[in-house]
Subunit: 318 residues, 2 copies
């Protein structure tokens, strides 16, 4: 294993830090989905994680790692998604401020969730430039430290703890599949799996409409995502410089799926397995149900990371 | 404990029979719902049971109890709900026929589910009389044995196994709440709890639009349900002569909830706890969130049985 941003020891330390703070989420199975996949699937249910997504692991690990004098000044991030809620909730138990920069176009539901967890929402224009300058202004004003959503060692180590649990809960896995967006989950999971159980194969699942990981892997170099277009709104971002090398060196391959496949897989997960997952999670389900993955040989037992379940129930995709 | 249709030994035997056949469903918690309820809630997740509801427990126990020469002739029931699917699935592993009498107005989704599990759908007119005469005709023709949905000792004993698991999974409960329709789940759960842990209080939850249990309890005599009207379509039936005495003697009280409360509780369970439950399950959630239940003293830890998760995703109530 070449040196990456984090190693197995970092992930074990994160697991100790998260004990009693994050949920040890259950692993569920479904006979119908097994039959459709042609093998046994073990779903790691991060939609049951605090704040409804794996993001709490990384955010909590990063927040708990802060020295008291740094933590006291609070944390800041720019996000309109699960990382924002996770960070707000993670700071609450330490009693420190969380400044969440959100575009003014963010849904009221997401804004309210951050506020309910005790976060302070700072509005900005809906552009990446505005988000970054607003976050920088908050930092300058408050001294808060930036906790980015994925390209950060403590965040990556935190996300990797989901895989440590999965390996314990579902012994004898032949492979693990996780969705990839910025790559924080993917990198943490991959490092955990390939260090703790090197024989277990690791695959990524990605929306065809935001396939920078697949294209980067094919090209052997990081190709940023431009103009993503997919229902999987947690997977729009480009890989980061800390997450890309892990994907490049340790992930066997990236499977892309269409939005139609994502929606069909999400509905199957709801209907047949009662797993209330969001589209970004359904990307991994769609991948293991697809022909390309089904054609892989030697995989009897496959772990699938269901990344989260934060869905707008007033706007379901069917 | 007076003699009821089943006793604790019957439920323990059912549990042995179901081992490896039914899922030991997880117990989940949710901080937000705890805060709203004013106490700690432990959700027994029967929506993760095979065929998506607790009904599989009773159906499987009843099917496995049949002597080989009886079983060979198959089973029959009239139901358009979860019992039909559960019975079809339960017979599959024994390789015996399941004849399911369904009104021709039953949804194609429900019919298809029964057929997918290997059941034979027998259509009839949508009246109780037609259902009963059609089922009798199937019995006469095939020699199949009738497995009713709730008023049967083996069915009641099977349902009670959910409570045995809950008591193990969530030690130190002060009370258990379950929804009541025909009373198979309620009776099985009550007998299990009051026999195995007599100090644990047992409450029933019922839709206001099908409140025969509340009215029967108040009157001290079985009052059949007429013209039920509620979104909780698993709880429309009247209590049976085997289930009513258990409710009368061992259930402390019945809490009724309106359809608006049921829908609100269902949405909360989906949104905040990611528990994909059907309206009949949400009845129990609504009950513990209601003012009347919140006013009860001395209840720190309350088990709530989530009975199932078979929902038409194209017709959600919000």
């Amino acid at each position: 294993m070449p040196p990456f941003a984090v190693n197995l020891a970092d992930i074990h330390e994160a697991a100790q830090r998260l004990a009693g703070r994050a949920h040890r989420t259950p692993v569920m199975t479904c006979t119908t989905l097994d039959r459709m996949a042609g093998r046994s699937l073990f779903f790691k249910c991060e939609h049951f994680q605090k704040a409804g997504a794996f993001k709490f692991r990384g955010a909590c690990n990063a927040v708990m790692r802060l020295a008291p004098e740094v933590a006291a000044r609070g944390v800041v991030t720019h996000s309109s998604g699960n990382h924002a809620q996770a960070l707000a909730l993670a700071t609450r138990s330490r009693g420190i401020p969380a400044h969440i920069v959100m575009p003014r176009t963010a849904s009221p539901v997401k804004r309210r969730a951050v506020q309910e967890y005790g976060g302070r929402v700072v509005e900005c224009e809906p552009t990446l430039a505005a988000r970054e300058t607003t976050a920088a202004a908050v930092q300058a004003e408050t001294g808060a430290i930036l906790i980015p959503p994925f390209n950060h060692p403590d965040v990556i180590a935190g996300q990797g703890t989901a895989a440590l649990e999965l390996l314990e809960q579902a012994p004898g896995l032949d492979a693990v599949v996780a969705p990839v967006g910025g790559g924080g989950l993917m990198a943490g999971v991959t490092i955990a799996v390939k260090s703790a159980a090197p024989g277990v194969r690791v695959f990524a699942a990605e929306p065809a409409g935001a396939d920078d990981a697949a294209r980067s892997k094919a090209a052997g170099m990081l190709i940023p995502q431009t103009a993503p277009r997919t229902i999987a709104d947690g997977l729009l971002t480009s890989l980061g410089e800390l997450t890309w090398p892990v994907l490049r060196d340790q992930v066997e391959s990236v499977f892309t799926v269409t939005d139609d496949e994502i929606i069909a897989a999400m509905r199957l997960a709801w209907e047949r397995a009662k797993l209330l997952i969001e589209p970004s999670s359904a990307v991994a389900v769609a991948a293991v149900l697809g022909d390309a993955f089904r054609a892989l040989e030697g995989l009897q037992r496959v772990g699938v990371i269901l990344s989260g379940g934060n869905v707008n129930l007033d706007d379901l995709p069917w």
